[in-house]
Subunit: 155 residues, 2 copies
């Protein structure tokens, strides 16, 4: 089994600039925020953005560069009870990958302005995918322990 746990390598395709300088400044749900973040796609990848203005929402995948280690059972702002890490959106994960659906507000060459991104300033950008309702939306779901808890963070 050890052979399967090989290391995989990624090179960022860009960089995220936001007003969140630290984890503590990021809202629990970036979606609620009206803040605009700026995504720089490195110039050599710019051609890959062609036609992106037509999409109102995109999926941003980025590296949680401030993440340090992880626990498999975590407490969240929504519950007293710890839950399995993979049932949470905790930023502290074995593979520190984050994905956020954001609103694409504007594009200027290789710079995208987006709303609703919960990334810390300086997060390496790994990928951008179009958000496609027919693929990404699931209307009827069970949300496990999170049911009815979102929006009711404990202080």
């Amino acid at each position: 089994m050890m052979g399967k746990e090989r290391s995989l390598q990624l090179s960022p395709i860009g960089m995220i600039y936001s007003r969140y300088k630290d984890r503590g400044e990021v809202p629990y749900q970036g979606r609620r925020s009206k803040e605009i973040s700026r995504i720089e796609v490195f110039k050599k990848f710019k051609e890959g953005l062609q036609d992106i203005e037509g999409f109102s929402h995109i999926i941003v995948i980025y590296w949680l560069h401030k993440s340090q280690g992880y626990r498999l059972l975590v407490r969240t702002p929504w519950d007293d009870i710890p839950h399995g890490l993979f049932t949470t959106r905790s930023p502290h994960r074995p593979c520190p990958l984050a994905l956020t659906v954001v609103e694409l507000v504007a594009r200027d060459s290789n710079i995208l302005k987006v709303r609703g991104l919960d990334a810390i300033d300086g997060s390496p950008l790994l990928d951008i995918k179009p958000y496609i309702v027919a693929i990404d939306e699931r209307s009827v779901v069970k949300s496990g322990w999170l049911e009815g808890k979102l929006g009711r963070e404990r202080c």
Copy 2:
């Protein structure tokens, strides 16, 4: 700028087993498929699955291990015109990361059975996140060049 393009390292947290042995066997939209895939979460991460049975849908992030290189402008099955890579879900990307929202059908210890996963057999599993309507769903969107094209693949 070169300093920002450093290499990042990931170690898989599991392995995906499916009946798709090659890219050509994977349906364009895994969601339509009734096929069941099996996700093995390596035993050392098993505790992180606690409570996951309560979720009907999860987001699976995996490594596109058969991906070889990429083009910044790509033709898709949905259009004659090439489009920017980041406006497509092509598996050939600078960072070969895939994400799919799947239906969680059953759990047996560290094995999850899921429906709607479009991963090739042997894909390294990187992360599992709960699919949360309040976070992940966007009901009103513009889908750019893809508008009205999904479900109408060209032969």
